[in-house]
Amino acid sequence: MAGSKGLTGRQKLGWAVVSVVVLVYALFPVAAIFANSFKTQADLGNPSFWPRNWTLTHYEMIFVGGAQELFLTSLRNSIGITLIATFVAVVLATLCAYAIARLNFPGKRIILGAALAVSIFPVISVVTPLFNLWRTIGLYDTWPGLIIPYLSLTLPISIWTLSAFFRQIPWELEQAAQVDGATQWQAFRKAIVPLAAPGVFTTAILAFFIAWNDFVYGISLTSTEAARPVPAALAFFQGASQFEEPTGAISAAAIVVTIPVVVLVLLFQRRIVSGLTQGAVKG
């Protein structure tokens, strides 16, 4: 990669153009949804990008109006399920990654390999058998019924990222703690966990995004408001009459669920990038 110092004016211009193109390409849909969410129902069909009259009707509708129940319960489901899935994934991944980074045991490579295999396995091919299985054992349309598949999405990346983090922590610290009178568990908790905290945190954010953005499991393994998360619920919004598309409400809801993700990314940008590259380079 070229350092910024070595760039000539032409190269700078080139990079700027490329960056702008990528940014527009990536952000245009978001901006369009944003604009749509403020258009009146009549306005939605017209070709202008920005609304002629800014309105908050769609937001009113999803928070206090007709779609309130659908949206708020699904929002509650989303938050609850995602947080639990993230928490469980991070705890399990921390222990697993610690073992992988520190201990020598048979099957270590298999675990890492299996984690990778799971994460590249197409979700859609698992969904149908899972649907049947969940119905038989009563997990269909429940929170655990979504949390468990979410773990299969979040655990692999968590394990890979965290084991890279743990490998960076000098082993001597733990040995020093043991010599100082700590049990293996105490050494882990008092010397290793505090140092791994930034890594654990990054991993938690990554896992949160993955679970938060899932659509396939959310739509296939739920049938009622009991467990349906927001991305799935968006598909169930209804217009005021059967001839009206609920585009405005869906847009508003989409913007609302994007906000936490954007806020998290802005706050922890640096950590996320370092966490991603660690997983990528060192894993």
């Binding site: 020093a176 703690a177 700590a182 049990t183 105490q186």
Partner: protein, 418 residues
Amino acid sequence: MASITMKNIVKEYDDGFPAVNDISIDIEDGEFVILVGPSGCGKSTLLRMIVGLEDITSGEMLINGERVNDKPPRERNLAMVFQNYALYPHLTVFENIAFPMRLAKGQFSDSEVKEKVQKAAGMLELTEHLERKPANLSGGQRQRVAMGRAIVRDANAFLFDEPLSNLDAKLRGQMRAEISQLQRRLNTTSVYVTHDQTEAMTLGDRVAVLKKGLLQQIASPRELYEQPANLFVAGFIGAPSMNFLPGTVEDGPVGSMSLNTPLGSIELPEELAAAGKGRDIVLAGIRPEFFAEASTVDESKRGRGSIVRAELTHVEWLGNEQYGYISYENDPRVVDTLQNLAHDMDADDLRTQLVVALDATSRVRGGDSADLWVDTRRIHLFDPSTGENLTRDEEAGAELTRLAAEDRKRDRERTAAD
């Protein structure tokens, strides 16, 4: 306070490589023992077996007579200073030092912890830094924090794993002195691993020299220096290293015996000659300071040595003394031995040059030829094939180590009286 006894300790790795091979060492209560050797000699492994971070393949490890082979580190009550200090980066200096006491829940009240940390900090001049984080400390200060963590609890013994190797030369000398004084003051059994023979010589009551997992010799620094057991110990201990000159013992003029070397003939005292006689070739171990410029040697002393004439290739003047270098043609029969020796000691390739210590006032320059007097009584002869010291005086050596032990007892009584 405790004694540490190692009986036939062996460490074998999964691939069957013995990192430590049948080592037995008795460490007395309050003694300061150094494990020294080139990298890969097993010294650190041995230390880690004492503290319990490494499993023992076979043999017995006793602390105060109690077998600890299967005890985890925390039950051995030993304190260790790591090479990279292993300070907890998220804790302040105070909490780093207090860490062992915090782990022993309920044993220390808050005020006790504070008092002990303050005391240790005072001893190590860390009082002003107690609230800082390790990342903001200098190398020497970090080193002291690591020591503070070790001395704050009443450990059975201190174990040091190359604690000074990350410091610059000046600081290393200073910390060496501090460790030595601290150990004397606390009178705690200590085991110290280093690859630096200066540290070994200056700190240890006794020094164990290891090579490839085997104990070569354990003795007081003086005995190692004066009566080395073999070629390896002789070459490893002392700086600059001992010169090894190939030669054959032959009948000299007037009934005396002399050693025929590339430098010329060196007359040998009878006992030495007897040990080397009848052998094809021997290596004469001559330390640089066994040489002197013939003109500066007293008449009375001159008779006790032999004089050779040689051309110096260059000299190094160091202020308090100077070293002269002499090139010579090596005997092909010992090249392999010396090559292996250099390799064992982590040294560069063998150079066939002799180092002689000259008086600082001497005006001999490179290119000059000089008459050099050799103190032949202190020469040792080694068997090039086995490395064995043919002229080692067991009794004289044992006496030196006994004297060192006596010195230590005296030191101990003095500190006890203070």
